[in-house]
């Protein structure tokens, strides 16, 4: 059920299993006591003071046991909590996690300003190293949650908080917004891609590159359509004139696993449907329907699909 793949999640899972087993045990004991109380044979001496004394003793023992168990739970909770509040080591990289209605933006810090880049809806992290997360939001409260790797951290407008994430095995882990944030709270997912350090480094280097130039005629025409239509009003593609940051950046959109914040697989057909009328897929999202001609749509698709 927990399926942990990182130190935080593992610590939570160990602690969680202990809590759950303890709860089940206590539940069974209480239910058995209740059943015995209901089903036992009644005797004449039940109303004697001696019975009351015995019951008082038993209830006191039960209360004392409860206190012991609760203190145990509190202690274990503090211990495992202290273990996950702060990273196990220096962070390999620092990422701003910015919540938007209804998508995520991951901004990778760097000392060189030109090396700062953003990766919408897809967080890449190196395996086995803690990654520092700065949680913030531009509109309403969201909550960053990757069940296999870590618990939740709310993204609150006006407040920046730090937390961390770490994966111990390579893989793709799904995360989702956990704080109700409006119409498309249900479709505000993300992928965490954990990969070995060298792959991660290569990914970083690639992300810093500007967008690929269109290679074919259709792609070139697609770029023209993109630049002259509504797309450019909200989306940025580094290396081109498109520079608006209202929607997710598309510089390397074709390299991503999903579109629309983890809603659809990144395939040509889904992308076509999304561009034409995203409102039928994710009603209420901020992308308006686009009345492109079929030719223009195909061209834009070809161009966007070439942005690897």
């Amino acid at each position: 059920m927990f399926d942990p793949h990182g130190p935080i999640a593992r610590s939570i899972a160990t602690h969680g299993w202990w809590l759950l087993l303890m709860s089940i045990a206590v539940y069974l004991v209480v239910m058995v006591a209740l059943l015995i109380a209901l089903g036992r044979r009644r005797r004449e001496i039940d109303d004697q003071p001696e019975t009351t004394r015995r019951l008082t003793r038993n209830v006191s023992i039960a209360v004392a046991l409860t206190v012991v168990i609760l203190v145990g739970i509190a202690a274990s909770s503090v211990v495992s909590g202290r273990g996950i509040y702060s990273p196990s080591g220096a962070g390999a990289v620092t990422v701003d996690v910015v919540g938007h209605q209804w998508w995520w933006d991951f901004q990778y810090h760097d000392v060189t300003p030109s090396d700062v880049f953003t990766s919408p809806n897809e967080l890449h992290i190196p395996v086995g190293l803690p990654v520092v997360i700065k949680a913030m939001s531009t509109d309403v409260i969201h909550s960053f949650w990757v069940p296999n790797l870590m618990g939740k951290r709310d993204l609150i407008p006006g407040i920046v908080t730090n937390t961390w994430i770490q994966a111990d095995e390579p893989g793709v882990y799904r995360g989702q917004c956990a704080e109700f944030c409006g119409h498309q709270h249900a479709h505000m997912a993300l992928e965490v891609v954990a990969e070995p350090m060298n792959t991660f480094q290569a990914w970083i280097r690639h992300q810093r590159e500007p967008a690929a130039e269109p290679a074919t005629d259709e792609e070139r025409r697609g770029k023209d359509v993109f630049m002259q239509s509504t797309c450019v009003t909200c989306h940025a593609i580094r290396g081109t004139d498109a520079g608006s940051h209202l929607g997710p950046e598309l510089t390397h959109v074709a390299s991503r696993l999903t579109i629309a914040a983890g809603t659809l697989p990144n395939a040509r057909g889904h992308l076509a449907g999304w561009i034409a009328n995203s409102q039928s897929i994710k009603p209420g999202n901020r992308m308006p329907p686009n009345a492109l001609t079929p030719d223009d749509l195909q061209a834009v698709l070809a161009y966007v699909r070439s942005l690897r």
């Binding site: 709860s23 209830v59 509109d139 309403v140 609150i156 956990a178």
Partner: protein, 653 residues
């Protein structure tokens, strides 16, 4: 002031003819007015209590239908049955209605009905305020239902977190209706709480010292005090929200020095005690039922009372466990973990004491007790999952997931609704004079019990598998499909069980077996009069001789005399020992509280649209209040008489 004479007499001195005369006179004095205007003027706590209960169950049904729609939508993945816009309204209204319009009012309604009977007085304190509170509650609830039908229902969750509920992200009037609904229910709940506290502290029958009060009365006292301390917090925060939205203040706007977390602190400072406000009365119901069906007093009375009071106190110290994921400092989180865990101790004590009571007594398995046993099976599980949620690391994982949904349905449905339904089966013969069908009741129980567990148990697992709350749909490939479908099928059973309950109530009301005054042989004072109770409750105010008022009553139990029967006079006693210290006269029925509630509601609804609602409604409000408190001629005459008396005594001295 003249010295108050202790008005306790032995029973023998009253002849049968005198009793009959007294009965006639009391009936005339404590009359319940008829007709449409009379209907709006009633000030009798039993009538108002019944209205409250019926209204609350109507809202329960409405909110239950909404829950059914949600389960329909979530039965299969990627469902297009209900879109996000409507789904958000549905889950918001479901939560809001269940918390504010069903759970809290229905518990207070039971208190309104039962507390004056249990403490041995003729009416609730401030009966006109009681009528006022009911109408305010009714109008507020109707307003929410209407908004749901007008596509104007709040869609920001029953917790209305800002900035989502703020002016920038929820345009229109949806969130304003939510904020004003809160105001409606707060006014009603605060008024009822004040009445209950006053009744419990000042109107108990002689002999019912604090340590002899029935546990149900204790639980209502703790609840009422919690309401009085918790509600101002949400009055504040919902008014701030309304001001932010309507007038453009910046309480929750970080860019202008406000704070979006301020909302969460204020809301949960109320919101957590709120669940105890719902749950503590249920503890009182459980105690009443167990003692009646084992024919033994509850084991460990003092421990039970201490636990109730402790729950009331500690309940205010753990609101931050709703905010563990906001990134507060570790030490703060640990404090609230500890507090949240500590509150399990008083609850544990009560569970153990009840088990000891059942162990010692001879349980008779009638429907009310069966519901209480169902309460044990469900509530203990919910309580234990609550302890797991108190632990920060575990909570960070399951917070805002379906695990939490499962948890609070286990504690609220299992901890409050099961005892409540048991309580309805238990007190129905007192309220109507007819017994509810026991066999149907047991079928009803099993439908609800099995349906409940099928619906909500899978949600624990869904939460642990990562399904977040408040989503209108979910993807196909997450492994959540089967459990969601199972849960939706369970909801079907719950609906059938609920319908059966309504059927049983209606049928028994018409054709049920006539019950005696005390069909269960229970201990508390409400079982001493006829069923349904006469308008004046007690022919003679009794004198309580022990903790179990009826079981400890001696053959020649004294009664209170010397209370006037030609005016609405009641005995006032002192807080600790319930020694009679004075008499007070309760007001007659009046239409003014109703009119005042109409004006107040107009003001509340008007202020959703314009701040001018305040100055405009001040004048009519003043008129209704003046009408409400206009002294009667007889009062003036009596006041003059008393003055004369005082002067004479003074002169004599």
């Amino acid at each position: 002031m003249s010295e108050f004479v202790h008005p306790v007499e032995r029973r023998m001195t009253i002849s049968a003819a005198d009793e009959e005369r007294l009965r006639t006179q009391l009936e005339r004095t404590w009359y319940v007015p008829r007709g449409i205007i009379g209907w709006c003027s009633v000030a009798d706590h039993k009538t108002m209590g019944k209205r409250y209960i019926v209204t609350a169950f109507c809202f329960f049904t409405f909110a239950g239908i909404l829950a059914g729609l949600m389960r329909l939508q979530l039965a299969v993945p990627n469902n297009h049955f209900i879109g996000p816009d409507l789904y958000n309204q549905i889950f918001t209204v479901h939560g809001t209605m269940m918390m504010f319009l069903f759970a809290v009012p229905v518990m207070e309604a039971l208190g309104v009905y039962l507390v004056p009977l249990m403490v041995g007085t003729r009416n609730i304190a401030f009966p006109r305020l009681n009528a006022f509170s009911y109408y305010v509650y009714l109008f507020g609830g109707v307003m929410l239902v209407v908004t749901m039908l007008l596509n104007t229902a709040p869609d920001v969750g029953w917790f209305s977190y800002v900035p989502l509920a703020g002016p920038d992200y929820t345009p229109g009037k949806r969130a304003d209706f939510w904020a004003q609904l809160i105001t409606f229910t707060e006014v009603a709940a605060l008024a009822v709480s004040v009445e209950l506290v006053a009744t419990i502290f000042k109107a108990r029958a002689p002999g019912m010292s604090l340590n002899r009060m029935p546990l149900f009365v204790w639980s209502m006292l703790v609840t009422a005090l919690m309401v009085i301390f918790a509600m101002p917090s949400i009055v504040t925060c919902s008014s701030f929200l309304l001001l932010d939205r309507l007038v453009g203040t910046h309480f929750y706007n970080p860019a202008e020095g406000g704070d979006s977390l301020l909302w969460q602190h204020l809301f949960w400072f109320f919101g957590h005690p709120e669940v105890y406000i719902i749950f503590v009365p249920a503890l009182g119901i459980v105690s009443s039922i167990i003692s009646a069906f084992t024919w033994r007093p509850i084991f460990g009375y003092s421990a039970m009372v201490m636990s109730l009071v402790a729950t009331g106190f500690i309940g205010f110290g753990l609101w931050v466990h709703h905010m563990f994921a906001t990134g507060l400092p570790a030490l703060g989180l640990e404090y609230f973990t500890a507090a949240s865990i500590v509150i399990a101790i008083p609850t544990g004590i009560q569970i153990f004491c009840w088990i000891a009571s059942l162990w010692r007594g001879r349980p008779r398995f009638h429907t009310p007790l069966v519901f209480v046993l169902g309460f044990f099976a469900i509530f203990v599980l919910g309580g234990l999952s609550g302890v797991t949620l108190a632990s920060v690391p575990f909570d960070l994982q399951v917070h805002d997931s379906y695990y939490v949904v499962a948890h609070f349905h286990y504690v609220l449905l299992g901890g409050a609704v099961f005892p409540l339904i048991g309580g309805i089966y238990f007190w129905f013969p007192k309220m109507t004079g007819r017994l509810m069908d026991d066999r149907l009741g047991k079928v009803n129980f099993w439908l609800l019990f099995i349906g409940f567990n099928i619906t909500f148990f899978p949600m624990h697992i869904l939460g642990l598998e990562g399904m977040p709350r408040r989503v209108y749909t979910y993807p196909d490939n997450m492994g959540w499909n089967t459990l969601n479908l199972v849960s939706s099928l369970g909801a079907l059973l719950l609906v059938v069980g609920g319908a059966l309950f309504v059927y049983n109530v209606v049928r028994s009301y018409r054709w049920g077996l006539a019950g005696s005054d005390n069909p269960w042989g229970a201990e508390t004072l409400e079982w001493s009069m006829s069923s349904p109770p006469p308008v004046y409750n007690f022919l003679h105010i009794p004198v309580v001789e022990g903790r179990c008022a009826l079981w400890d009553r001696s053959a020649d139990a004294p009664i209170v005399t010397g209370i006037r029967s030609d005016v609405r006079e009641v005995l006032i006693s002192d807080v600790m020992d319930a020694e009679p210290i004075n008499v007070a006269e309760y007001p007659e029925p009046s239409i003014w509280p109703f009119l005042c509630a109409v004006v107040t509601s107009g003001f509340f609804i008007g202020s959703i649209f314009t701040p001018w609602a305040l100055p405009v409604s001040i004048l009519p409000l003043a008129v209704t209040l003046i009408g409400w408190f206009w002294p009667k001629k007889r009062d003036r005459e009596r006041a003059i008489e008393e003055q004369d008396e005082d002067r004479r005594l003074h002169d004599a001295a």
